[in-house]
C-alpha cells in the first residue's frame, strides 16, 4: 500500500501513455498500470515493422509524447524513452481485476448490469456505487488506491467471434502475432478493418512464403479502415500478392475449405487458415462491474461518458478505444485532456474543437460544441447509441444545418445518398408531386433520406422544413460507419426505411400505425443477379418491394421468356397474386444483385381490408400492369417478331448492365457513321482523354452499348476508393475528383471496363492553329506517340490517374458525346424509361 495516488491510469496504450506523461508533467501523483512487461501492448503486438498510421491528418496532436506515422519499432522506441524522460511511474505486470469505490455509498446511484444469454433471456444485477477513492485490485493480489481512475484498457478484451457454421474449428483464429510463421497456406482474412488488412498484407508480403491470401469484405466499402491502409492493400491486390474479395461473406467453414457468398454466387475455395479480425467489443463485464454504465445493450455499445470522459462512476474516466475511439492520435489527445480535466482544468477544449466549432458556427442558439454534440446525440434517435467521443468523430464527416420554415432541404429527383436526422423541429414530405400541399410530417428525432442511402436512387420526394428545423446530414460513408459501429442505429434505419417504403408505395392515405404490423413482419432479403424472386405459375402469395437493385419481369410466351417490364428500386410487385388469389402471372428475377423487402401476404391483405383507398390504388396499379401484359400479348399475335425483338433487345440491354444504370450511353448503329466525334468531343471536354470507347462493347439489333460509364445506382467503382475520390454529383453522375491516387481499384472493380488509367496529356495547340496549319494532333484524343513526345518535352509524363465519364457535369448543355454526334446516333437513356416496348421497338425495329 503506497498511499493514494491522485490518478491511476489503467492500460499503457497511446491513451494511457499520454495521460501518464501529462500527469507526470503536471507533477500529479500518478501510477500507470500495465498488465504486460512492456508498454502499449496493442501496438507492441502489431506485426514487426508494421507501418503505423497517424490519422486523421487534420487533427493536431496534443500530448507530451510524440507520435508520427512510422514503423512500429520506431514509435515504440520513442515512447519508451520519452516515458523514461518524463519519469512516469509505470507499474508492469499489473492487470486490474476490479475497481471499487471505497468512499460511502452514493445514494440513488445504482448500476444496473444486464447480462443477456444466447437464448435471449437476461438477468439484471444491481450494484450500489461508492464514492472515490477507488481501490484497484490487481490480479497479483495487490491493491492500488487512487482518487481518480483513468480506464485506457482498449478493446482487445474480447474480439468479436465469427458466427457461421464451422466458426469453432481450430484453424479459425482471431489474432496474428507473426505473419512470417505461415508458409504455403491458403489463408482467408475476414474483416477489412486495419487489423485485418495489415494481417493480410503481412502474410502476402513475401512471395517466398507462397501464401495464397484472400481478404473478405462484407460490403464494397472500407468504412472502418484507414485510407492509407486501404490503398496499400489495393496496391498489393494489384500486384497480385493477395486477393481482395469484396461483397463476399463466409458462409461455411470446413477443414481445408471455406465457402463464400459473393455477388456472383457462392464459391468454395481451399483455405488452411482463417484469421477473423472483425472488431472487438469492450471488456464489458469488467467495466460494468466498476459501476460504469453503457449507452445501450448492444455488443457494440460504449460507456456513457461526460464530455470530460467521466463515466457514470464519479472519478472513473474512460478514454481511448474503450471509449469508442480507435485512432491513436485521438487516444493520445484524450489522455492529455483527461488528466488536464482531473487536474481541474475544466475549460480545456478537445483538439478537434476548431474543426467542429466551424461546423456549428452558422447555427442558431449559440451552443458550445459540446452542447451541440450532446444536443444532436440526444435528439436524433439513431445517434443515441453514440458516446460524445464517437459523436465528435462522427461529426467530422457530417454536417449540421438550420432551415427556416418552408425551406427546401432537398428536391424530388435530386440525386443524393446522404442520410438526414432531425435534431429539432420537423419536416414535411411532399409525397404527391401533383399537389405539394399534401405532405407527410416527419417529427424531430427521426431520419429521412434513407431511401437515397439504401437504393442509391434519386430523392423520391421534396422535403421542406415544417418549422425552424435543425437537421444533421450524414454522408454515405459516415452513415455506413455509424451502422457498422452502432447496431441499434442500423436496425432503426432499416425499420424506418421499410416503413417509409411502405408508406410511399401507395403515395398517400397511410399512417405509420397502419403499416406498423407489416413493418414488423417485413423481412429484407438479398437476391443475387438472375435469382428468381417470383416464379410464373407458382402460388406463393407474398408481396415484394425492391429495396435496392432492380428486377425484370418475364413471361413464358410460345416457349420462350418474353421480357415484360423493368422494375427499378422502390417499386413493388407480387400484389396481383395476393389480391385476386391467382397464381403468379409472370416471373420476376433480379437484374442485378438486389435487396427486396418481403411482406407476408396476410399482413398485406389486412392492410388492404382496413384501407379501401389503398385497395383502390393497388387495383389501379394492377390494372396498369395487366394492360402492359395484355398489350405485349396482343402484339405477340400480330408481329411476334416485334415482341421477340423487344424482348431480346431488353434482355440484351439488361445483360449489359442497363439494369443498374442510371444514365447510359447507347449508339444507334443505323445512324452511326463511325466518325468517332463522340470520343473526340469527350476527349476535348475532359483534358484530352476520351472516357468512352465507341466501338468496344456489345451490339444487338443495331443497338450498341459502347464502353462508357452507366453511372450505376451502386457504383462498383466507388466500392473501394482509398482517397474517396469517387463521388456522385448533383446530376446523378458518378465522377472521380482530383484526389485520385491512381491505385486503379475502380478500374478493376468496374464490371464494364469503362474506367481507364492514363496520364493527363499536355495542352494541345489551339484548334485554329490545327485547322490552318495542322499544328498539333488535332481535335480529339492525341495519339499516344504525340502525348508521349509532348509530355517529355515539358518534363515527363504526369502520374496516371483513373478517368471516367462524369456526364460532362458542369459543362453547359450536358453530355458532349451526345451533343457532338452529327447524326443523332448517340443517346443517353435510363433503364426504366428506355426498357419499354414502344422505345425498344422504335429504336431497334
Amino acid at each position: 500500500m503506497s498511499g493514494i495516488f491522485k490518478v491511476a491510469i489503467i492500460g499503457s496504450g497511446p491513451a494511457g501513455l499520454s495521460a501518464a506523461a501529462r500527469a507526470a508533467a503536471l507533477g500529479l501523483s500518478h501510477v500507470l498500470l500495465e498488465k504486460t512487461d512492456h508498454l502499449s501492448d496493442t501496438i507492441y503486438k502489431y506485426q514487426k515493422g508494421k507501418h503505423v498510421m497517424a490519422t486523421p491528418s487534420n487533427l493536431v496532436l496534443r500530448s507530451d509524447i510524440d507520435f508520427d506515422a512510422g514503423k512500429r519499432e520506431t514509435i515504440l522506441g520513442i515512447w519508451d524513452e520519452q516515458i523514461e524522460g518524463h519519469k512516469v511511474n509505470v507499474k508492469y505486470h499489473a492487470e486490474a481485476k476490479a475497481i471499487r469505490g471505497t468512499g460511502d455509498a452514493i445514494s440513488g446511484s445504482v448500476q444496473q448490469i444486464v447480462t443477456r444469454a444466447r437464448d435471449g433471456t437476461k438477468n439484471v444485477t444491481e450494484i450500489q456505487r461508492h464514492a472515490p477513492p477507488y481501490a484497484i485490485d490487481l490480479t497479483n493480489g495487490e491493491t492500488v488506491m487512487a482518487e481518480n481512475v483513468v480506464l485506457a484498457i482498449g478493446t482487445q478484451g474480447n474480439p468479436n467471434l465469427m458466427r457461421c457454421p464451422g466458426a469453432d474449428l481450430p484453424h479459425v483464429q482471431y489474432q496474428l502475432d507473426d505473419p512470417t510463421e505461415y508458409v504455403d497456406e491458403h489463408i482467408v482474412i475476414v474483416g477489412t478493418g486495419d487489423a485485418g488488412i495489415e494481417n493480410a498484407r503481412g502474410l502476402a508480403e513475401d512471395p517466398a512464403q507462397r501464401n495464397t491470401v484472400s481478404i473478405l469484405n462484407r460490403g464494397t466499402d472500407f468504412p472502418t479502415a484507414k485510407a492509407a491502409n486501404v490503398s496499400a492493400l489495393m496496391a498489393d491486390h494489384e500486384a497480385g500478392k493477395l486477393i481482395v474479395r469484396t461483397e463476399s461473406e463466409t458462409k461455411e467453414i470446413e477443414p481445408g475449405w471455406i465457402t463464400l457468398a459473393t455477388r456472383d454466387g457462392e464459391i468454395r475455395i481451399p483455405c488452411d487458415r482463417i484469421i477473423a479480425r472483425i472488431g472487438s467489443a469492450p471488456p464489458r463485464a469488467f467495466v460494468e462491474q466498476c459501476g460504469i454504465e453503457f449507452t445501450s445493450e448492444d455488443r457494440g455499445a460504449f460507456p456513457k461518458l461526460s464530455p470530460v470522459f467521466e463515466s457514470t462512476a464519479p472519478g472513473i474516466f474512460v478514454i481511448g478505444a474503450l471509449a469508442g475511439y480507435p485512432l491513436i492520435k485521438h487516444c493520445m489527445n484524450q489522455g492529455h485532456d483527461v488528466v488536464e480535466f482531473i487536474n481541474g482544468n475544466r475549460d480545456l477544449k478537445p483538439a478537434d474543437e476548431p474543426i467542429l466549432e466551424q461546423k456549428f458556427a452558422g447555427l442558431p442558439g449559440g451552443r458550445s460544441v459540446a452542447d451541440w454534440l450532446e444536443f444532436l446525440r440526444a435528439n436524433v434517435a439513431i445517434l443515441n447509441g453514440m458516446s460524445p467521443l464517437q459523436m465528435r468523430e462522427f461529426m467530422l464527416d457530417s454536417e449540421v444545418r438550420a432551415y427556416q420554415p418552408g425551406e427546401v432541404i432537398f428536391e424530388r429527383n435530386e440525386p443524393g445518398s446522404s442520410l438526414f436526422g432531425i435534431a429539432s423541429g420537423s419536416v414535411a414530405v411532399e409525397v404527391n408531386p401533383a399537389d405539394p400541399t399534401f405532405t407527410i410530417p416527419i417529427e424531430a428525432g427521426s431520419i429521412f433520406g434513407e431511401v437515397g442511402l439504401i437504393s442509391g436512387r434519386r430523392r423520391g420526394a421534396t422535403i421542406r422544413a415544417a418549422e425552424d428545423t435543425i437537421v444533421v446530414e450524414i454522408s454515405r460513408l459516415a452513415a455506413l460507419k455509424l451502422q457498422s459501429q452502432v447496431s441499434s442505429a442500423k436496425a432503426a434505419i432499416q425499420r424506418i426505411s421499410i416503413e417509409r417504403q411502405l408508406l410511399q408505395m401507395f403515395g398517400s392515405g397511410l399512417t405509420r400505425e397502419d403499416v406498423a404490423p407489416l413493418v414488423e413482419a417485413a423481412r429484407v432479403e438479398e437476391k443475387r443477379a438472375g435469382e428468381v424472386v417470383v416464379a410464373e405459375g407458382a402460388d406463393d402469395k407474398d408481396v415484394f418491394i425492391i429495396r435496392r437493385g432492380s428486377m425484370v419481369v418475364e413471361k413464358e410466351m410460345g416457349g420462350r421468356p418474353v421480357f415484360l417490364s423493368y422494375l427499378p428500386a422502390g417499386t413493388y410487385f407480387g400484389e396481383m397474386a395476393v389480391i385476386d388469389g391467382s397464381a403468379r402471372t409472370a416471373t420476376v428475377k433480379a437484374a442485378i444483385k438486389s435487396e427486396v423487402i418481403r411482406l407476408p401476404a396476410q399482413g398485406f391483405l389486412d392492410l388492404l381490408a382496413r384501407k379501401p383507398a389503398v385497395r383502390e390504388r393497388a387495383m389501379k396499379d394492377m390494372a396498369a400492369r395487366r394492360a402492359t401484359n395484355a398489350f405485349i400479348d396482343s402484339r405477340k399475335g400480330e408481329f411476334f417478331s416485334a415482341v421477340d425483338l423487344y424482348s431480346q433487345t431488353a434482355q440484351f440491354l439488361v445483360d449489359n448492365g442497363i439494369g443498374e444504370a442510371t444514365d447510359v450511353l447507347l449508339i444507334d448503329e443505323k445512324l452511326c457513321i463511325g466518325c468517332d466525334n463522340c470520343e473526340k468531343a469527350c476527349a476535348d471536354s475532359h483534358d484530352g482523354l476520351s472516357r468512352l470507347d465507341r466501338e468496344a462493347g456489345k451490339t444487338y439489333a443495331h443497338l450498341h452499348v459502347p464502353t462508357s460509364c452507366r453511372h450505376c445506382e451502386h457504383p462498383h467503382c466507388m466500392a473501394d476508393c482509398p482517397p474517396n475520390a469517387i463521388k456522385r454529383g448533383p446530376d446523378g453522375e458518378v465522377f472521380i475528383d482530383e484526389t485520385c491516387i491512381g491505385c486503379g481499384n475502380c478500374q478493376r472493380n468496374c464490371p464494364y471496363g469503362v474506367i481507364r488509367m492514363d496520364a493527363k496529356p499536355p495542352k494541345k495547340p489551339s484548334l485554329l492553329q490545327w485547322m490552318l496549319f495542322g499544328k498539333g494532333p488535332g481535335p480529339g484524343e492525341a495519339s499516344y506517340s504525340w502525348r508521349k513526345k509532348a509530355a517529355e518535352k515539358d518534363g515527363g509524363q504526369k502520374a496516371k490517374q483513373a478517368i471516367k465519364c462524369d456526364m460532362c457535369s458542369g459543362i453547359d448543355g450536358g453530355p458532349a458525346c451526345v451533343r457532338a454526334c452529327p447524326t443523332g446516333a448517340a443517346i443517353r437513356v435510363s433503364p426504366d424509361k428506355f426498357l419499354t416496348f414502344a422505345k425498344l421497338t422504335e429504336d431497334a425495329g
Binding site: H186, T212, H237, E238, G240, I243, D264, I267, I269, P270, R748, P751, M771, L772, G774, E781, S783, Y784, S785, K788
Partner: protein, 603 residues
Amino acid sequence: MAFLIRTIDFTAAGREIVRDRTLDQTRLTVGRAAENDIHLPDLAVEQHHIGIDLTAGDTLAVRALGTLGFGLDGRVVTEATIDPQTGGEIALGAARLAVARENDGNIVITIRQVAPDEGKTDALRGFALASKLPGKRTMSWIFAVAIILLLLALPVASHLLRTPAKPDPTGKTPGAVLMDSAWSSGELSLKHHSLENNCESCHVAAFESVQDETCLSCHKDIGDHAKKPRLAKGMPPLSEGDALQWKIAEGFGKEGPLGCVACHSEHEGPVRTQAGSEAFCSDCHKDLKTRLTDTQLTAAHDFGKTHPQFRPVYFASFGAAKPVRAAAGSTPVERSGLVLPHDVHMNPRGGAARMAVSLAQYRSPLECKDCHAATADKVSFKPVEMEQACEACHSLVSGRTPGGALSKLRHGSVKNLAEDLARISTGPRPRLAPGRQRPGQLSSASPYHADFGRPVRAYIGISNALSVGGVCTECHLPTRGPTGQADLMPVNFPDRFLTSGYFSHAAHTKQKCTDCHAAETSKLASDLLMPDLKSCRTCHLGATAVKTAKIVPSDCAMCHAYHVPSGQWQGLKPAKPSMPHYKPPPEPAKKSTVAAKLAQVTP
C-alpha cells in the same frame, strides 16, 4: 492424350525460362485462382476464367466459366472450339496461350506474357481514308491560294501599278490590268464591244462606279433630257428597295438614278442598247405636272390613249424672226410670205395640170414630189427651189441674147431683177440695111441716143413686175421697202414643224402624202398642212395595243428620243441627224418573266 503446358518467362536480365509440365487429363481450367490447372497471376483474369475440354472430335472446347469472355485470335468470345491442327491463340489478360499439336499428338499450350503496348490506338489511324489521300488542308490551301492570287491579287496589283490605258473606241488598245477579264460579269453591248478587253476605259478608279464624265468623254454631244434638278424633281419616287440600294450606292460614290449607268446597264451580253420602254417614259410623264408643277408638258403615257395634240412650230407673222408654237387645238395661220394655192396645183384637171402634161419635164399632172424633195434622213423636206420646182410654168424668159439663146430674169433678188429688166430696154437694135451717111450726120443707133435720149420702157418694167399683177406677184406678196420702193415679202419657213418628235417619211411610203397632208383642198398658202394626232392614231396606238394589219403598236421611243441633241430651238439644224428612231416592237423573250428565265436555264 495429354496436355503439355509450356510456360515461357523472361528474367529481368532477359533470359528466357521455359518450364514444361504435362497434365494427363482431358480438362483444363485457367484462372487467377491458385487451384487452376493453369494459374495466371493476372488481375485481368477471373478466378476461374476458362475451361478447356478435349472433345471427342479431338478438338478443344474452350468456354468462359465466369461472365467475362476471353480473347481467341483477337476476338472476344465466351465460347469457342479450337482445332489443334490449325491451332489458335487464347488471350487472357497479358497472357497468350498458343494452342498447337505436337507431332507426338500431344497438345502444347505455350504461355507467353505480352507487354501491353499503349500506343496501339495509333495504328487505328490507318483505317481513316486520310492515310491514302492528299490532305484536305493541303488541297484547301492550294485551291484558295490559287484563286485568290489569280483572280484577285493579280488584277488588283496590276491595276494599282499600271499606267492607265486610254479609252479607245476602236478597240486597238487593250487594258493594262491583267486577268480582269475574269471579272467581267458578261459581254459588252454591241456598241461598246470594241472596249471588251479594256475594262479600265470605263472602270477608271478602284471601288468607284463608272462615272458619267467617263461616258461623256466619248458621247460628247449627248443632250440632257432636261436639266438634272428638273429631272430629279420630275422623277417618280423610287421603290423602297431601289431607294435603299441607291442610298447605299450613293454613299459609296455611285452617281444616283440619273447617272448614265442607272439606265445603261452594261455587261448584259452583246446586244443593242434598247431604248426605254413606254413605261420608262410614262413613269415620269404620265403625271409629270404633279411633281414638276411649272412644266408645259401635258400628261402622256400611251399614244393611243393619252398623248397631247401636236403643236407644230410656224411663223405667225410675215418676216418674223422666230417661229411660234401653235396652241393646242388651234388652226394656225402661217405667214410664209408666199402665194400658193395647193389646190390649183394639185387639181388633176386644172390649168396647172394641163400645162404640166404639155411640158416635157412632167408629162403628167403635178404631184407633191414635183415640188417637194425629202431630206436625206427622210424626216423633213428640203426647201422648195423656184428654179427646179416652179420655173417650168412660171417662166421668167425675157428675150433672146445676142447669141440667140433665150435670156431670163434672175430669181431670188429684187436688185438682180431690176438689172435684168434695164438691160432689156437699152439693148442695141439690129440694122435694117447697110447705112450710108454724109459726114457730120448722127445716126439714130449711135451711142449718143442711148446715152442722152430720155428713159422709156425699162423703168416702167421693174415697177410693173413688182406691183400687183406683175410677174413676181404670181407667187410673192408685194410690199414696200424701207425707202418706200417696191419690194417683195421674204419667204419664211421653219426648218421643222414638229420639233420634239421624229417622223420618218421613209417608214410611211405606203401612205400617200395627201393621206396626212390636206394639200388638195388647201386654197391658201396660209394653211398649215401638218397632220394632227387623230390622223396618226388611225394606225398608231400605244405600245400595249394589239398589232394588226392596220394598227401599229407604238411606244414613245418610236417618235421620241430621250437624249435630245442640245440647242434644238436655236440654230435650226440638229448637230447631227439622230439615229432613225423607228424600231421593231420589242420581242417577248426580252421580258423578264420567270418562265422565260427557266426556259433559258433548262437545257
